[in-house]
Symmetry: C2
Subunit: 495 residues, 2 copies
């Protein structure tokens, strides 16, 4: 169909520019000298503007209308392709330019000031800027909600996790809240009885890198189609044929970089495993942020922190650092190190048991901020209450390690936080289903993990965005999101 | 003036896209895994097409016409800015799309086949493709010549060395031919009497890199605005605020990478030294390929292979490789190593005394190919004759080390070769003028070379393309190109 061809050609052309943006973005974080930043930022902004213009070209509307009229002639994949193109087009087109600009200005101002305000524990200064950001996010949410005929917060969720609603998250997180605080306490009490020997550095960076690359290969990362580098904030970037993952090395603690590398390898394999015949099309992209995180957490949590994988890591780490006789490198001890649970203030440092607590409290707050049920001024109090309730920690007056610790809200990315925990729930559910079909522990112990990756490839990676997250889960596991699997998994591993 | 503002805004916007192309091009040569090549090539081609479209937008013609009418109100820099924008616009616009496409196809075909044909010494196969390339280059030259009202080959020269003509090169190279072959012979005879101890490897890559970075700093390269990396074919890329130079390391010979790094540092300082207030405009770019090469050769030949600089290198190399007592690292010996002259087949391996011979023979051939005075079939014979005449070497039947050694002609880049030797002549002339004002040897010996760089910055770097090469030379040295300085320099250093 002519108009469909036009649409797909248009989005494929756009993907070439997005390719260049991805590589230059990676370069900015890993390679660029400081002095290059100003000109680079200008160049990237020019490219972003051009991509936005291309994404919102007026003729697209006509093409979509034409394709919709004849949609009964389309195959299922074609229908999905149209739907995904339309989703990106509508998301890009619906906001008036004035709002986009105001959002960008307020976000940049808030984020810039936050870097200092966080250090100074200056809540009042931060709150002033955040109010502007929240006001614009509410405006954005309303406009998007009018277009999608849904609730305002759901319209923001849809940017990161299409199809997800606050109603569904309330239900899922509600179940979590029932058992998680008690479980955390029980795990902490249990682990207090089990002594852990912390591996002592130094672990030279070159050896850590070699170990990381070794494990990446074992996890099927293709260095023919990707790289590992260093950046301050680890990420997975690039394009599916050239996936760039990064880490940072702590010479006193090799596990942080290693687990980070394994996490990003999960993201990377999803990207490397996307179907080539849909390359350059929205339908050929990863399904959602939550599904993306399910893959990184599957690799990091379900696989790499399991007992049989700890045995593999143990052998390799002993060799890499020449610690054959170090008691900290005995397999049982190392597994305990990899599964230590410890309630703390900082989300990014949290283990998998306490992590959902950090997310649930942020979700409750941002949902009510967007709906208008609460205001910025009440964030610290609510934060403190939830931290006490979930983790037994007070953040009263401690803004920098409380509600000012994350960058997400500073530029108005409301709706993003829940995807971290949705990813953890998806991962547990996928593993549960996989175990029905595969002897997962035996496969890990064998060192050849291909059957595991084949399963993920078939059920997740190769399907890209050809169907909804609900369908993806149903086809892979027999049911849509069921948070009971996460409970079973956590209590099984830790209690 | 409104139209001038529009023009400059247009070219500055374009420079942002060229920035991204430069970084992604660097990435392709230094960082990209092999598997990324296909998608990257597509993305880069899309960007190149977009840049071409932007460069040839129809409204530019009206804007230029308008500006020309009011040009008496423009400052000298504004006039130069208009002239340089116009030059780029005309160069991009004059060729019909069909010819651009045919050129690109024939060039890609010829270059691709050449990679194997060169290995196979397959002249007949190569000649067949090259004929197509030459036919299209002739067509291109005629179209460009009609636009510029000049001779066809001069129109190609103008792409690389604006203002230069075959008539002028004939004159300059004619003078060179008078004395160079005899001088080469005399230098070879003289050096045969002076034993040289070749430094023996291994020279570990990490130590070579540290030495290179040390020398780069001494040469004023700013790592705040640039990087050093590795690529198969060394180059200087990136953008003025983020200059990316590359090298390759031979663990048996540290001088090749070191001298290569110094050469690229000359290119880099020119880029880093361009005027910031003209950034993003054609008038703010380097003057020409020849002037660019004059800076790299000034650094590599005039500075780094001089006796006082050899003393600096000697100290640093001894330390870097821990060779305090190695007789190969005695300063006199090292200087001999750095100034060894040896006629050979391969241009890129040539020393500065024999290098012009390689260029002159290529120039004679390409000039006559474009004018139609000779045909592709006669290249090998003419090559052999010239090699025997200039360097006493026969290339009869040895195509791969003769007329098939370079990539330049495969994609039709005729007019480029002369800029290498023009650069060497400019460099010698600049040094001669500098010596009238500065105690160059004393400055080098002091280790603080700033006065030399300040001189280059004032006379070359800061002037960018605000005036012609002729004027640049006249203002810096009191005369336009005078090849006598190169003769004096070569005979002074080597005889
Ligand atoms: Zn992640
Ligand atoms: Zn050069």
């Amino acid at each position: 169909m002519e108009q469909l061809d036009k649409l797909e050609a248009h989005f494929k052309r756009l993907s070439h520019f997005q390719h260049l943006a991805a590589i230059c973005g990676w370069d900015q974080a890993t390679m660029m000298p400081d002095g290059g930043n100003h000109a680079r930022a200008d160049a990237m902004a020019e490219l972003a503007l051009y991509c936005h213009q291309q994404m919102t070209q007026p003729e697209l509307g006509d093409w979509f209308a034409d394709v919709d009229e004849k949609s009964r002639h389309l195959s299922a994949t074609q229908k999905a392709s149209v739907a995904e193109m339309k989703r990106q087009w509508q998301q890009a087109s619906v906001l008036p330019d004035t709002l986009v600009k105001a959002k960008s200005l307020a976000g940049a101002k808030c984020e810039h000031a936050w870097r200092q305000q966080r250090q100074d524990n200056d809540w009042d200064g931060f709150a002033k800027n955040l109010k502007e950001v929240v006001a614009l996010a509410r405006e954005e949410a309303h406009i998007r909600a009018d277009q999608k005929l849904c609730a305002p917060y759901d319209a923001l969720l849809d940017l990161y996790e299409p199809g997800m609603t606050a109603e569904r998250i309330d239900e899922v997180f509600g179940a979590l809240k029932q058992w998680l605080p008690e479980t955390i306490q029980a795990v902490v009490d249990k682990q207090a009885q089990q002594p852990v020997i912390t591996p002592k550095g130094p672990f030279p960076q070159a050896q850590q890198k070699a170990l990381g690359e070794h494990v990446m290969k074992q996890l099927g990362f293709s260095f023919e189609y990707g790289r590992l580098d260093i950046s301050t904030h680890p990420f997975c970037g690039g394009v599916p044929t050239d996936v760039r993952i990064t880490t940072r090395y702590d010479e006193q603690d090799f596990t942080s970089a290693l687990m980070g590398v394994i996490h990003e390898t999960g993201h990377a394999r999803y990207e490397q495993g996307l179907p080539q015949d849909l390359a350059g099309l929205p339908v050929g992209q990863a399904r959602s942020m939550g599904v993306h995180e399910s893959q990184s957490l599957f690799f990091e949590m379900q696989l790499a922190r399991s007992a049989p994988f700890a045995t593999l890591i143990c052998q390799q780490a002993k060799q890499a650092f020449n610690r054959q006789d170090d008691p900290a490198f005995q397999v049982e001890n190392l597994h305990r190190v990899l599964t230590e649970v410890s309630p703390g203030y900082i989300r990014v440092d949290a283990d998998e048991v306490t992590y959902p607590a950090h997310i649930m409290l942020r979700y409750d707050i941002e949902r009510d901020l967007i709906s208008g049920k609460m205001e910025v001024d009440h964030i610290p109090e609510r934060w403190d209450t939830a931290m006490q309730q979930y983790l037994g920690l007070s953040t009263a007056g401690n803004y920098k390690n409380g509600c000012m610790q994350d960058i997400h809200w500073t530029d108005g990315s409301f709706g993003y936080f829940p995807t971290y925990t949705l990813g953890a729930l998806y991962a547990a559910q996928l593993m549960q289903a996989m175990r029905q079909q595969l002897d997962v522990d035996g496969i890990i112990a064998s060192g050849n993990l291909s059957p595991i990756f084949d399963w993920l490839s078939q059920h997740i990676w190769q399907r890209a965005s050809t169907t909804s997250t609900d369908n993806l889960l149903k086809d892979a596991t027999g049911e849509t999101l069921n948070p009971a699997h996460f409970r079973e998994y956590i209590q099984g591993r830790y209690l």
